[in-house]
């Protein structure tokens, strides 16, 4: 077992037993489910809306070159500088270069999973810049020097008590058990950061090909401040996010809000089409868009799983996944966790290292059922299993199946083995649950049903004689 798989297994074992953790997750996701169901019911036809979204994304992804070029030429025409990065390292270098050129010292950041993907904060800090996350949940996990727990709810694993303790320790604030007071502490600290920041860094939810704009979805107003106050704005986005038409947002914005947080629409849905114009009074003087590939084109080349690039990062598949709900977000050890993370991480970071995630699934299909853009998630997990074993077959499995085939192809031998099994199973209690048990991998957590005293064949034979 590789180290990633070993770590996954060790943490899963620990967290599934952690009752406090389970309670927190059940509480947060229970609230989410109630709200989501309420908002879904407000749609006239949720299923048709999903199908339409899947079709629009299909078109966007399957003609990605055309839509990307449209997006870029239109946003460039308004004075935006567009950069292309094939790898995470290139994206980091481009962004550090922009920050250096603008003689900036401090950077304010709104939530961007792509920046987690390329480990941007660490790189910027190493280069000597101060980076502050402004989304409340991200700010909290940044203070704890942790990765986000969930792509939409980064601090879902913490109680108000944990956060109060953290703020007292890191910010010197008075302890409080009131979420509103805690939010206001963060608001006060971050206000000053916005005003002093030289560079604002954001992600994007939907670049629009037709008009050359990026759409950013948020609730707190932190992305809006990030895009309004600093004199340089940088947006980092994956190449797969583009939507063809402006009107597509009329469908995607409510869909994302409903699936993501159970809201009819998030508080702020903003479109940015360039830097401050001559007739405008505020906004950045420079606007840079960094387009990131980082193995996305490899996933694109896999026609069977191409629809994984339809993902709008709503987090709905995490919320309904029985595995995620038991092992939690950090256990995955990946930027994108839950079912979508288990599907795409092997493509982004290596199939053999991350194939264990394909087995962290009960194949219940809840994620496929809930996905607002109809990604065939649980089938892709099966395909990853198949691809992994095709690429690097397991010798033990090969041996086991060869032996099995040899036995079942010989009726006499098969009969003998069955008889032997019945006898040997009587001895099983002597070793059951111990390392000496040949079926230990199975029996340590499960029962082995007794082999029937009579096989069907024997029963049939007896019956005919009578």
């Amino acid at each position: 077992m590789n180290t990633f798989a070993a770590q996954f297994r060790e943490q899963s074992l620990r967290l599934t037993r952690d009752l406090r953790h389970r309670l927190l997750i059940q509480n947060a996701l229970g609230k989410y489910e109630t709200q989501r169901d309420h908002r879904k019911a407000a749609f006239q036809d949720w299923q048709s809306a999903r199908q339409a979204a899947a079709e629009i994304k299909w078109e966007a992804i399957n003609h990605l070159d055309v839509h990307l070029q449209d997006f870029v030429s239109r946003i460039e025409a308004r004075g935006t500088v567009v950069h292309w990065a094939s790898t995470a390292a290139q994206a980091r270098d481009i962004i550090i270069g922009i920050v250096r050129d603008s003689k900036a010292r401090s950077i304010i950041k709104s939530k961007a999973m792509t920046s987690e993907e390329i480990h941007l904060n660490e790189a910027l800090e190493e280069a000597g810049f101060e980076v502050v996350e402004s989304d409340l949940g991200e700010f909290i996990v940044q203070l704890r020097k942790e990765a986000p727990y969930h792509i939409v709810f980064p601090a879902m694993h913490l109680t108000r008590g944990d956060i109060s303790e953290l703020f007292t320790r890191e910010l010197g604030s008075a302890p409080t058990q009131n979420p509103e007071d805690l939010t206001m502490i963060a608001r006060r600290v971050l206000r000053q950061k916005y005003i002093n920041a030289d560079v604002g860094l954001t992600g994007a939810n939907f670049p629009i090909a037709e008009t050359g704009m990026i759409s950013i979805t948020e609730n707190e107003g932190n992305a809006r401040l990030t895009a309004a106050l600093p004199k340089v704005m940088i947006s980092l986005l994956g190449i797969e996010k583009v939507l063809p038409r402006l009107e597509d947002l009329a469908l995607f914005l409510p869909l994302l809000a409903t699936a993501g947080t159970g809201q009819p629409l998030t508080c702020y849905n903003s479109l940015y089409g360039g830097p401050r114009r001559a007739d405008e009074s505020d906004g950045p003087e420079e606007f840079h868009v960094v387009l990131l590939d980082n193995h996305r084109t490899e996933l694109l080349a896999d026609a069977e799983q191409r629809d994984a690039l339809h993902c709008i990062r709503c987090g709905a598949c995490l919320n309904v996944c029985p595995i995620f709900r038991n092992v939690g977000g950090h256990t995955y050890g990946t930027t994108y966790s839950g079912p979508i993370g288990s599907v795409i991480t092997p493509h982004l970071r290596g199939l053999q290292d991350w194939k264990h995630l394909s087995y962290s699934s009960s194949l219940c299909g809840a994620s496929t059922e809930t996905c607002p853009v109809k990604i065939n998630l649980h089938h892709h997990l099966l395909q990853n299993r198949r691809n992994a074993s095709r690429q690097k077959p397991s010798r033990i499995e090969k041996f086991a199946f060869r032996t099995y085939a040899a036995i079942v192809n010989r009726p006499g031998l098969y009969h003998l083995v069955k008889k032997a099994g019945r006898v040997l199973q009587k001895l099983h209690p002597l070793v059951r649950g111990t390392r000496a048990d040949p079926a230990y991998g199975w029996t340590k957590t499960r029962d082995l049903p007794p082999i029937a005293r009579q096989t069907f064949k024997e029963y049939w034979k007896d019956r005919n004689i009578k």
Partner: protein, 228 residues
């Protein structure tokens, strides 16, 4: 070859094998699909009602559930009365505003020092304002949203930096749904888009601490919409 050309070449190479169409993963891949017409979504998204009155009521209902304050008044005099009441209740000392028919009239009625954001301004001064008063491009009944742009609402910061955002709107600005709002944006700006467009749906909020709703995370704690 530039990085751009390399990425685009990889994209084109990848797309030479066709992908199954959504919903038929187990059938044969289909050739290129046309986009479904965008106004199709109207029949699936939340319904908005037939008449203007229905939509006004829907906006009112949505605003209430978003915890925004919606004041529907008959005449401008009443609107300025609402403003005066907000000023007195919250003890406003200074407000931010931009140039416009409604905002100018509002500032005159309030009689307070005004930080104007039509021209480059001091961010700290705007930050210390008690309210930001703006006009808007439209109100959206379907979602209870206010549509603003850097051109209609005094730039990017005025509607997000002060703790209370007051929107002045006319009844005829009420649109049924998001599709109509995007159509309006195209009609109004397509030859020259402003650099910033936003749908504001209630006051700033967060649920990042135990999923408990808190208003005023980074943006305004209060959103008042005065419609006459």
């Amino acid at each position: 070859m530039s990085e751009k050309d390399q990425i685009l070449a990889r994209v084109r190479e990848a797309l030479t094998s066709p992908a199954p169409h959504p919903g038929d993963a187990h059938t044969n891949p289909q050739p290129a699909s046309a986009l479904p017409p965008s106004n199709n979504s109207r029949q699936w998204l939340p319904a908005v009602g037939e008449t203007f009155q229905d939509r006004l009521e829907l906006f009112q209902k949505n605003a209430a559930s978003l915890k925004a304050d919606f004041y529907l008044v008959e005449r401008w005099e009443e609107a300025s009365g609402v403003l005066g009441k907000l000023r007195d209740q919250e003890g406003w000392q200074c407000v931010g505003a931009h140039k416009g028919d409604l905002t100018d009239a509002a500032c005159a009625a309030l009689g307070l020092p005004v930080c104007r954001t039509d021209h480059p301004y001091d961010v700290a001064a705007l930050e210390s304002c008690d309210a930001g008063i703006t006009e808007c491009d439209a109100l959206v009944a379907q979602t209870g949203s206010v549509l603003v742009t850097s051109r209609s609402a005094g730039g990017r910061a005025l509607s997000v930096l002060p703790p209370h955002h007051v929107v002045l709107a006319r009844r005829e600005q009420l649109l049924p749904d998001l599709l109509a709002a995007f159509e309006l944006l195209k009609r109004k700006y397509s030859d020259n888009y402003p650099s910033f467009i936003s749908f504001i749906t209630g006051p700033s909020r967060t649920g990042d601490i135990e999923r408990v709703l808190v208003l005023g995370a980074h943006g305004p704690k209060k959103l008042s919409i005065i419609c006459f």
